[in-house]
């Protein structure tokens, strides 16, 4: 029953960071919510920034792992299926880690002290996506691959944020959301640069 004190702090910190943001969450809030003395906090973390990093970074690593094709792709999938599954998987991951990802999106780059966290994370996700896309678009330049990857990240992130966080929906909308995202731009594929 005696939950680890460190875990308690992490839980309270997460909750409050999400609710109030990094700067408006005070150490006093965290320890009050965690039901312990102010000093105890510093037995487990060396600063407020430390909890933030610890909590967020650990979660982000899990996400990167979960996003790697090894975790979900299958040799029998064709490329279209891979793409569909990628979006679906990404949304699912977002849902599962929605609290941390919400913090990351809203407060992650709010301060120079912590903005490297978000930067590193996005870069890593980008690398995963680039690798995946490269197999479909072998002729693409690095630059195009990267742009493509970031566009996908932005799309998934924003859609998931609005659905899972703002509207509070659960996974029951997962397929709907996946399809809508996949349909974005579909109707204009034939034109592209020619219309300028």
């Amino acid at each position: 029953m005696a939950v680890d004190k460190r875990e308690t702090i992490v839980a309270s910190a997460l909750k409050l960071f999400e609710e109030l943001g990094y700067h408006n969450t005070k150490v006093s809030h965290i320890v009050k919510d965690a039901g312990m003395a102010q000093g105890t906090f510093y037995l487990y973390f060396k600063s407020k920034e430390d909890v933030f990093r610890t909590v967020i970074e650990q979660c982000l690593e899990e996400i990167i792992t979960a996003l790697a094709p090894e975790s979900w792709a299958d040799s029998v999938m064709d490329e279209a299926q891979v793409h569909y599954q990628l979006i679906r998987k990404s949304l699912e991951i977002y849902y599962h880690h929605r609290h941390v990802l919400n913090i990351l999106k809203r407060h992650g780059s709010a301060s120079p002290e912590i903005e490297d966290i978000a930067a590193t994370f996005y870069k890593n996700v980008c690398i995963v996506l680039m690798k995946l896309t490269q197999e479909h678009f072998p002729g693409y330049s690095e630059e195009k691959l990267e742009a493509n990857a970031y566009a996908t990240i932005g799309m998934v992130e924003m859609a998931a944020y609005q659905w899972f966080i703002q509207k509070g929906y659960g996974l029951e909308k997962l397929d709907l959301l996946t399809e809508v995202i996949l349909e974005v731009n579909l109707d204009c594929k034939e034109i592209g640069g020619s219309s300028v």
Copy 2:
């Protein structure tokens, strides 16, 4: 030479908000950068939050106006062209207002005190996009239109952020970026939900 003092404050504030974030930018930094006494700041703005709101909100209104189809769409354009131009125009706007949009993206929802600004902005952009999309997809539900709009916003924002802010590129990449964004997902249109 005698630049308007208010302008000076705005310039310094913008620069510092972008660099340090809302919370880490102190009024003392702003006035130091602007080369004036601390008290002078309060002749032009009634608080730190006031500069932030004033500067950001005004810019966001301009953006909403610029984004409205009246400002750029043309009756002779077909739907594909409209879509292409929308993305292109959005990226262009992002570029022109990149400093404010960067602040919005990174620090806009970092505090309860100011998060309404970003929320309102995204909602307004969403409304513009939904109207536009509705003409192409008359059968779409409100929900799908909304999801589609947010996905587009996320895509444009993230791509523009990486290109114009992180990489520091200028408009020379505008067409490239537009095309890449339009091609996202293109290769999978034929599958959709059937592949689950």
Copy 3:
């Protein structure tokens, strides 16, 4: 028509000192009420304290003069009449100068910077009263005369304050008030120290 600017400042200052107190009245309030620029204030007064002193002290001198028996006593009055008239006159004076006396009572000793004003005033009033009482109580010690004088001052001041300021009554209550004050303690004259 062009009222003297100095007078305008004095009028505004008086009004605001009474309403807000010395510390809560800002120079900016005064000039705004007086309809002039901030700098103009310093052409007529050298500081905020200076207006306060000027306004109050001048009025207090008038009061001392008005209170002197020469202004109201009459050789045909007997001692009882003198006493009655003294109270009545004091109340009347309080009424006429109620704004300044209100300021004096409420804010006059609120700061070391200005507390000498009130102290001097009360001392002067005390001297007037002591002289007057001495003729009735030739056997009284200095000490008793002084105590008596201060008791009278306190009585008149508090009663007048409650009536003219707090309740906002005018001179129609003058006689009633005078009588009540004179009756205070009346019923116990026969006992005094014997009852201890």
Copy 4:
């Protein structure tokens, strides 16, 4: 030796409020006098106004209680004795609480933020006195009783202020002062309104 820190703050605050007034007493003065860090102050009181209210209001309640006839009157006293004892008791109370009452008198209504304290106190004292006087003057109107009460309050307050505060006397003058106060007006009882 380890005096309660809260007590220390109260002591310093009282001393400084009395000496410098509410506005001129800075929190930095208080903590310096109390020998602690600035932040410590806020562990015990939530603002400067809070110390003021806490300290003053508590004391004033004690005074109201001590002033109630139950605390000092006796069934065997005749009315004259009651009156004598009332004055005597009031002076005694003033002496015991002279620091707080001095603050109240001098600074109590110096600011809109705190003036309700003094107003409430005087009203309560007035009520106590009115009840007491009503038994002696059953025919008096409310208005007369009130005027009488306030006159008494003013008399006692001013006399006590001059004796115990300004002159720094102690209780050795208590009876003298009581008698002088009781004799005020004595010589004119026979005239009243008839002399106008």
